[in-house]
C-alpha cells in the first residue's frame, strides 16, 4: 500500500502530468480518503460524504445489475463498461478543461444509463447516448449538483428519438434457464398490451362470435372481468382469440368449458413481471430487486420516500379510475405499476435530489405530475413507455415548482 501512496505522491510532482491532476486527485481520494480537517466550528462533522452517498445508490443498483446479467448475459457487462468509459472520458475532459475535481455523480449516471437501455442496444449507440447525456445533460450546466435534467435520462431520450428503429423494436426475451430456449425478439408487456387492446375488445360483457368476424380478439385484464363476462353458451369460441392478463384471468378462462386451450393466450403473468422473465430494458425487468433497492435507499435516507410513493400512487389511482372507463386505452393499475420502467424510474431516477424539487410540497407535486404524465403518455400517445419522458418533463418543471412552493411558503404575512 505504501508503494501506491508514494507513487501517487510522486505523480503529483511530475510536471508533465499537471494537466491530469483531476484524475490523480480522484484516484487519490478514492484510495486514501482525505486528510483535510475542519477549519472552524463545527470541529467534528458527519461521516457521510458525497462518495458514500453516491456509492449507496450503486450498492442499491447492484442487485439489478446482477439480475440483468443473469437474464441477458454478459453483454450487459460490456455495455456498462462502454458507458463508464465513454461517459468517464467526457467527465475527465471537462474536469481537465474546467480545472476542477472529478465529481462522483458520474458513477451513478454511468451505471443507471445502461440499465435503462434495451439489452440488444449496439455499443456505439450506448457510447453516443452516454456522451450526449453527460455533456448536454450535466457538464454544460456545470457538472454534478448543478444540472437541471437527469443526465442518464437525457442520454436515453436522445438515442430513443434519434434511433427509433434500434431503440424500440428489438426486445430480447430474458433467458429462462428452465426452458432452455434461445434468445428471441419479442415485444415488451406494455407493447403487447397496447397492440392487443387496440386490435380487439377489452373486457367485454358479452362475447359473441359471428361468422363474418374472422380473427376476432378479446382481452381480459382480470379474473373478475372473465367472471363478469357472460360467455354466451350458444356461441362458439373457435374463432375468437382470447388474451388474458395475468395468471388469474388465464386460469379462470381456461376453466371455462367452452374455451379451447388453443384459443387462449396468456400475455404474461404477474409473477414473471415481478421476477424479471418478461422482456424490457436491462435493469428494469427484475422488479423485485428494484423495489428492495429502492426501499434500501429510502431507509438509508439517500432518497426521499415522497416522490416514489406519490408517483406510484398516482399511477395506481389514475389507472384504476381510467381502466374502468377507458379499458381500451388505459391498462389495469397493478399491471401499470409493475410493467415497463416505472418502478425503476420511480425508485432511482425521479428521486434524484438534484433534479427534483427540494421542497416537500414540491416533491409531492413532482411525483403526482410524473404519474399523470406517465399514464397519459403510455395510454394516449404513440409511445409505449412514458416514464422517461415524464421524468425529464418534470425535471424541466422542477425549478418552477420550487419557486411557486417557496412563494407560498414564504408569503409575506398579512398585517
Amino acid at each position: 500500500m505504501k508503494v501506491i501512496r508514494s507513487l501517487l505522491d510522486k505523480l503529483y510532482e511530475v510536471p508533465g502530468l499537471q494537466r491530469y491532476k483531476p484524475i490523480i486527485g480522484a484516484a487519490d481520494a478514492i484510495l486514501y480518503g482525505t486528510n483535510e480537517t475542519t477549519h472552524a466550528a463545527p470541529h467534528v462533522v458527519d461521516n457521510i460524504d458525497i462518495k458514500r452517498y453516491m456509492s449507496f445508490v450503486i450498492l442499491a443498483l447492484l442487485p439489478a445489475v446482477a439480475a440483468s446479467v443473469y437474464f441477458f448475459g454478459f453483454r450487459v457487462i460490456a455495455i456498462i463498461m462502454v458507458s463508464y468509459m465513454a461517459g468517464g472520458a467526457v467527465e475527465v475532459i471537462f474536469a481537465m478543461v474546467g480545472k476542477h475535481d472529478i465529481h462522483e455523480g458520474f458513477l451513478i449516471t454511468g451505471l443507471i444509463f445502461p440499465l435503462v437501455l434495451p439489452p440488444t442496444c449496439p455499443l456505439w449507440v450506448v457510447a453516443i447516448g452516454v456522451v450526449f447525456g453527460t455533456m448536454f445533460g450535466k457538464e454544460m450546466f456545470g457538472g454534478t449538483g448543478r444540472n437541471i435534467f437527469n443526465p442518464a435520462l437525457v442520454g436515453r431520450l436522445f438515442i430513443t428519438i434519434a434511433f427509433p428503429a434500434i431503440m424500440s423494436a428489438n426486445w430480447q426475451q430474458p433467458f429462462d434457464y428452465s426452458l432452455e430456449t434461445d434468445a428471441t425478439t419479442v415485444a415488451t408487456p406494455l407493447g403487447k398490451y397496447k397492440s392487443t387492446a387496440m386490435a380487439g375488445e377489452v373486457n367485454p360483457t358479452v362475447v359473441e362470435f359471428k361468422e363474418d368476424e374472422a380473427n376476432k380478439q378479446v382481452l381480459f385484464t382480470s379474473a373478475a372481468a372473465v367472471e363478469k363476462c357472460t360467455l354466451n353458451p350458444e356461441s362458439k369460441f373457435d374463432g375468437v382469440k382470447i388474451y388474458c392478463v395475468g395468471n388469474g384471468a388465464y386460469k379462470k378462462a381456461a376453466k371455462h368449458k367452452r374455451i379451447e386451450e388453443s384459443n387462449l393466450t396468456r400475455l404474461f403473468s404477474y409473477g414473471d413481471l415481478l421476477v424479471g422473465k418478461e422482456p424490457g430494458s436491462m435493469g428494469e425487468t427484475c422488479r423485485i430487486v428494484i423495489i428492495l433497492g429502492g426501499i434500501f435507499l429510502m431507509f438509508a435516507k439517500v432518497s426521499n420516500w415522497r416522490i416514489p410513493v406519490s408517483y406510484l400512487g398516482t399511477v395506481f389511482v389514475l389507472a384504476l379510475v381510467g381502466h374502468r372507463f377507458l379499458p381500451q386505452d388505459i391498462a389495469p393499475p397493478v399491471f401499470q405499476i409493475f410493467a415497463g420502467g416505472l418502478m425503476f424510474g420511480a425508485m432511482f431516477m425521479a428521486t434524484d435530489p438534484i433534479t427534483s424539487p427540494f421542497t416537500k410540497a414540491g416533491k409531492y407535486c413532482f411525483g403526482v405530475s410524473c404519474g399523470v404524465l406517465t399514464v397519459l403518455i403510455r395510454s394516449f400517445t404513440g409511445y409505449v413507455e412514458g416514464v422517461m419522458f415524464s421524468i425529464v418533463i418534470m425535471n424541466a418543471f422542477t425549478p418552477l415548482i420550487d419557486q411557486i412552493v417557496l412563494m407560498f411558503k414564504y408569503r409575506p404575512a398579512k398585517t
Partner: protein, 210 residues
C-alpha cells in the same frame, strides 16, 4: 484585397465585422427562429438565406434612401410595410420557381417580416447611414446569416437524412439520426454553434490584448 479597394476602408470593415464579430445570430442573437426552423436541409437553408439577403438589401436601399423622409412616429410601420412587400416578392418567386421548397418553408417565408435581423438593422443602421454603407451592411449580414444556416443545415441533413442537397452521401447501413431533423436537433446544434463561436471570438480578443 480588391474588395477593400471597391468598398473603401469603412465599407470593408463593416463587411468583415458583420460576418465575423457582429454576427447577427451568434453575437447579437437575432433571427434565431428561422435559423432553427429551416435549417433541416441545405436546400431550404440556401433558399431562406437568399430570401433574407434579398429582403435585407432591398430594405437597406429603400430605408436608407428615404431615411430623411420617414416620420419618427411611423418608423416601425414603414419598415414593416417595406419588408412585407419584399417578402411577398420572395414568396411569389419561390412559388413560381420552386414549389417544393416553398411548401417546405411554409409560413417561415412570411415570418421573414418579423425576422429581427432586418428590423434590427433597419433601426440601428439604415436610418443613420447612407445607401452604400447600408447595402454593404445588408450584404454582410445576409452572408453571415446564410452561411450559418447552411453550416447548421449541412450537419443536420447529413446526420438526419444521410444526404447532402438531396444526394446520398452516407453508406447504406448508416442509421439516420432522426432527432437531427426535428426541433431538438436544431436547438442543440445552434446551442453548440453559439458556444463554439463565442469561445473563438473571446479567445481571439484575448490574444489581441496580449
Amino acid at each position: 484585397m480588391f474588395l477593400k479597394k471597391y468598398l473603401g476602408a469603412d465599407g470593408y470593415k463593416i463587411l468583415k465585422l458583420g460576418i465575423t464579430r457582429d454576427h447577427p445570430i451568434f453575437a447579437v442573437g437575432l433571427g434565431i427562429c428561422s435559423a432553427l426552423a429551416v435549417s433541416n436541409t441545405v436546400a431550404n437553408a440556401i433558399a431562406m438565406g437568399a430570401g433574407v439577403t434579398f429582403v435585407l438589401v432591398a430594405t437597406a436601399v429603400i430605408i436608407s434612401s428615404l431615411r430623411s423622409m420617414i416620420p419618427q412616429r411611423a418608423r416601425i410601420i414603414t419598415y414593416m410595410i417595406t419588408i412585407a412587400s419584399f417578402v411577398i416578392i420572395v414568396q411569389m418567386f419561390l412559388d413560381a420557381f420552386s414549389p417544393t421548397i416553398s411548401e417546405a418553408l411554409g409560413p417561415y417565408v412570411a415570418l421573414i417580416i418579423t425576422n429581427c435581423i432586418i428590423m434590427g438593422r433597419a433601426e440601428a443602421f439604415y436610418v443613420t447611414n447612407g445607401v452604400r454603407l447600408s447595402v454593404i451592411d445588408a450584404v454582410s449580414n445576409g452572408i453571415a446569416y446564410t452561411y450559418t444556416l447552411v453550416a447548421i443545415a449541412v450537419v443536420r441533413e447529413i446526420l438526419g437524412f444521410g444526404t447532402l442537397l438531396g444526394f446520398q452521401v452516407t453508406p447504406d447501413g448508416w442509421p439516420k439520426w432522426v432527432v437531427m431533423s426535428m426541433a431538438p436537433g436544431a436547438f442543440f446544434l445552434l446551442g453548440v454553434a453559439i458556444w463554439i463561436s463565442k469561445t473563438i471570438t473571446e479567445g481571439g480578443s484575448e490574444e489581441e490584448e496580449e
